[in-house]
């Protein structure tokens, strides 16, 4: 099993390298030259050449790539083309919002959804199950901004609680104040991942529930609760952790739309700005951060699947 995990880690590392290649060379094909963009159209060719040399843009692409990769790993994300400040400075103010919203969503949305999904699997075909299935089938296909709009409609327009825009600083706020502050983005993202999580955790548990060893447990007279929690969940944990990790990875995407929708500054709005201003140094840096998060979560999903397999945990 250690071998398998090491192998998977190796594949993860190769994937990260491949991703960095895609991002670096993907943005390299952009028209325009970093030095030229930073200095503006009026710059003299000498100045441009000097900056090019300073930025290492005169070196061959692969050398630039290696320097960029080395810098990235040491936390140097380069200097923004659009605003001329180090990207680490740009991120410093914003990463907190993104991290807070993602983490709070995970903390609140995941346990609730799992509970709902597992309960649906405990009573398949019941009214509760059918309603929950219908709602999640509907929500899973709806765009984030639709869910967000419904929430705004309900809370801001109908109940007159809160605001359709998230404003103000998070400094010095406690846990519950933060939840209140980001209530609508967190609720939106929770709904979106919940619809997936409910469906998939329900399917994972039902899949296990249809196995012969569950039938055997029934025929041994094992009470329902014990069948679910001892016999079924133990075997469903792997698939469920896998599903959770996949959905957290999805948050990376979802958070972009939500930040724009509720107009608060985060990493995601920053990258959208980067695209609009063609600031590809910024895109490279942030793109790597997002992709890394994503790759790591996928890695966790896979390792969870190994770890929950009794055949791998207890080799012969």
């Amino acid at each position: 099993m250690t071998g398998l995990i090491l192998r998977r880690l190796g594949i993860g590392l190769v994937t990260v390298l491949a991703v960095s290649l895609i991002i670096f060379f993907g943005t390299k094909i952009l028209p325009g030259d970093a030095a030229q963009i930073r200095l503006g159209q009026e710059a003299t060719p000498e100045n441009v050449a000097a900056l090019r040399e300073k930025l290492g843009l005169d070196k061959p692409y692969w050398a630039q790539y290696l320097i960029w990769l080395k810098n990235f790993m040491t936390g140097n994300l380069g200097i923004s083309l659009a605003s001329d400040v180090p990207i680490t400075n740009l991120i410093a103010d914003r990463y907190k919002n993104t991290v807070i919203v993602s983490c709070l969503t995970a903390l609140i949305g995941v346990p609730i959804s799992l509970m709902l999904g597992i309960m649906a699997a405990m009573f398949p075909g019941s009214l509760y199950d059918r309603v929950l299935t219908f709602v999640s089938v509907s929500l899973v296909a709806a765009p984030e901004f639709f869910t967000a709009t419904l929430l705004v409609l309900l809370f801001v327009f109908a109940l007159d609680i809160g605001n359709a825009v998230v404003v103000g600083s998070t400094d010095g706020k406690g846990f519950f104040e933060l939840i209140a502050h980001f209530a609508l983005p967190i609720a939106t993202l929770s709904f979106v991942i919940a619809s997936q999580l409910i469906r998939m955790s329900r399917a994972a548990v039902l899949n296990v529930m249809s196995s012969p060893y569950i039938e055997m447990a029934i025929l041994k007279g094992v009470p329902r609760r014990r069948i679910i929690f001892r016999h079924a969940l133990l075997n469903a944990i792997g698939p469920i952790v896998n599903v959770v990790a996949l959905n957290l990875a999805y948050l990376v995407t979802g958070v972009i739309v939500v930040e724009v929708y509720f107009a608060y500054p985060g990493l995601a709005t920053l990258i959208v700005q980067g695209v609009q201003s063609r600031d590809f140094v910024l895109i490279q840096g942030l793109g790597m951060i997002f992709c890394l998060t994503y790759v790591v979560l996928m890695l966790i999903a896979d390792i969870a699947a190994f770890a929950s397999n009794p055949r791998l945990r207890h080799p012969k």
């Binding site: 012969p212 060893y213 039938e215 055997m216 025929l219 041994k220 007279g221 014990r226 075997n235 207890h314």
Partner: protein, 612 residues
């Protein structure tokens, strides 16, 4: 006539006009069990015998008040210790299950929860129901492990299910069922998935434990020979109805109902020594149709170019023209691999294949279309061997077009002819495979091979997935086809009685090496290779008392344990062989003892020793 006084203490389970069915979408009932009556008494084993679709498993589960998802009890009663379990709620049933009545399923591998240690699962029922403390249950489990002759009884419970072998798991399931001291055991084909040499041990253990525990049992099976060993009474089922019921010796020796007779006829008795087909040496003159010389084969490719998982070592088997060669061995012995090597599906890593004396390329790509045509392969599972999206006409028509074997007929006429050869109506040409029954699909599967006008047909366990009677009919068909077309068959099976009933020659494979080969009557008569002797003595005979006799033989005692693995040198049967010579058998490849009639035994012992 004296009437039974219906002593309630005596009858453990009784089905009264029991009806079970599936309620369909339109509200109508599709009845699976159509009113069944029988009783099971304390200390008695009642066998429910029938083919797939007979409702035997469904009936047996009714003793636990359980109907499979989609089915429900639609009439009659199932009385467990006088209580009608069909009318009880799950909560009412729970205290009965695992305590009053326990269930043993066909596949122990699927029935044990892979994530929970064996001992917890074995002791779960009595501990949960409060009839035993954990310590008492553990003690009982330990007793059962010992009684069931499991290795390391003290520690085996601490393992996970995947850490023990299939035969052991099957016995552990028996321990799980018996741990709660049930009044009634329900055993659903508990030995069907096992090899014959393993089956005999498990059967013996089951029988002994049932006797010691004084429990009653319902034993579900399709195998009359097994029934003869373990049952006191037999209930013969067909299509959800009882066709015949009575004491085992009467049913076996004197079946009355034509269906029971059909079942009995379908069992092919092992030919007595010297009673096999008369072997002639006429075929020795011509070169064999298909011949394997010195074949090594396996799966995966290691760094040295040799297979990672070697399966076959130095196999030499010739298939004579117009003859049937039966290849027999237990699961994992490499018999299917050998067929795949012949067919070119798995290129051998060493050795040669000859077709009509002409050397064949090891893989498919090097063989000509004509060579491919002459050697046809028939798969075990017709379900996966026939493309579900093609009509039977296209399935049979393609090889005709591809090899040009229409023989002056139109394609349509040739397809009709082929269907006729395998005794299927012409109209089937316009059906899809899923519209046919299992036996019909297997016939189409066979017809596709015949469509190529082959010289050799490789049949890989073609009857193993079929019911007894259906399988017997397919064997009859193969016999007839051979007479009519002169084709050679390679018939691969784990079932010695099926093979011996129609093969001209038998090849016994053990762990990737040929143990013995020769004309059927010679192979099945002494002198035996020690493994052949074990195999022959392990095939259950449909007579009462066989199990006790067989269990006394030295082969059965010696063969009980030991691993089945292809060794790099020496005889792979060494670990289980009662005649093994330490230092010789495990070191030196066995010599071939040829008595001149084509009967070859690969053994270090002399013929005289093997005769004994």
């Amino acid at each position: 006539m004296t009437r039974d006084t219906r002593n309630p203490g005596d009858v453990v389970f009784e089905a009264r006009d029991l009806k079970i069915g599936a309620i369909q979408h339109d509200g109508s009932e599709l009845r699976i069990v159509k009113g069944v009556d029988f009783k099971v008494r304390r200390g008695e084993v009642v066998a429910l015998i029938g083919e797939s679709g007979s409702g035997k498993t469904t009936i047996s589960l009714s003793a636990l008040g359980y109907a499979k998802p989609g089915l429900s009890f639609t009439g009659g009663e199932a009385l467990l210790l006088g209580q009608d379990v069909t009318k009880m709620t799950t909560d009412e049933l729970r205290p009965l299950r695992g305590i009053s009545v326990a269930y043993l399923a066909q596949s122990a591998a699927a029935t044990f929860n892979p994530s929970i240690k064996i001992n917890e699962q074995v002791t779960e029922a009595p501990v949960l129901h409060g009839t035993k403390t954990q310590a008492e249950a553990n003690a009982k489990a330990l007793d059962l492990y010992r009684a069931l002759e499991l290795p390391n009884p003290e520690t085996i419970g601490e393992r996970y299910p995947h850490q023990v072998s299939g035969g052991q798991l099957q016995r552990l399931m028996a321990a799980m069922a018996l741990c709660g001291d049930p009044e009634l055991l329900v055993l659903d084909e508990p030995t069907t998935a096992l090899d014959v040499t393993t089956q005999i041990e498990v059967l013996k253990a089951f029988k002994q434990v049932i006797k010691e525990e004084g429990a009653a049992a319902i034993y579900v099976t399709h195998d009359l020979a097994v029934v003869a060993q373990i049952a006191d009474r037999v209930v013969v089922l067909y299509n959800g109805e009882i066709k015949e019921a009575g004491p085992v010796h009467e049913i076996i020796t004197n079946p009355v109902h034509p269906y029971t007779s059909r079942l009995m006829d379908a069992i092919r008795p092992m030919p007595e020594a010297g009673q096999g087909e008369e072997s002639s040496d006429e075929h020795l003159r011509a070169s064999p149709a298909l011949e394997a010389r010195g074949i090594d084969a396996g799966y995966g490719k290691g760094a040295d170019g040799l297979p990672l998982v070697p399966v076959l070592r130095d196999v030499n088997v010739a298939i004579e023209r117009g003859k049937t060669v039966g290849i027999i061995g237990e699961s994992g012995c490499g018999k299917s691999t050998l067929a795949r090597v012949y067919a070119g599906l798995l290129p051998a890593s060493a050795g040669e294949i000859y077709l009509d004396g002409e050397r064949l390329s090891p893989g498919l790509s090097g063989r000509t279309r004509e060579q491919l045509r002459k050697v046809q392969f028939v798969y075990q599972m017709a379900d996966t061997a026939l493309n579900p999206r093609q009509h039977i006409r296209d399935i049979l028509g393609r090889p005709i077009d591809f090899y040009g074997t229409a023989e002056g007929m139109t394609r349509r006429a040739r397809v009709d002819q082929l269907l006729d050869m395998v005794e299927l109506p012409k109209q089937f040409a316009d059906r899809y495979p899923h519209e046919l029954s299992g036996g019909q699909k297997q016939r189409v599967n066979l017809a596709r091979a015949l469509a190529a006008n082959p010289e050799v047909v490789l049949c890989d366990e073609v009857t193993s997935a079929l019911d007894t009677i259906v399988a017997a009919n397919v064997i009859d068909l193969l016999n007839r086809l051979q007479r009519e077309t002169g084709v050679s068959f390679v018939f691969i099976s784990h079932d010695l009685s099926t093979v011996s009933s129609f093969a001209d020659e038998i090849v016994v494979l053990y762990a990737g090496m040929v143990a013995e080969q020769g004309p059927t009557d010679r192979v099945l008569a002494p002198p035996f290779h020690p493994y052949t002797r074990l195999l022959v003595s392990s095939v259950p005979e449909p007579r009462v008392g066989w199990l006790e006799e067989a269990a006394q033989t030295r082969e059965a005692k010696a063969g009980a344990s030991g691993s089945v693995q292809l060794t790099k040198k020496g005889c792979p049967f060494f670990a289980r062989c009662p005649l093994a010579i330490a230092g010789t058998c495990d070191e030196v490849d066995p010599p071939k003892i040829d008595d001149g009639s084509g009967h070859i035994i690969d053994c270090h012992r002399s013929l005289a020793e093997l005769n004994g």
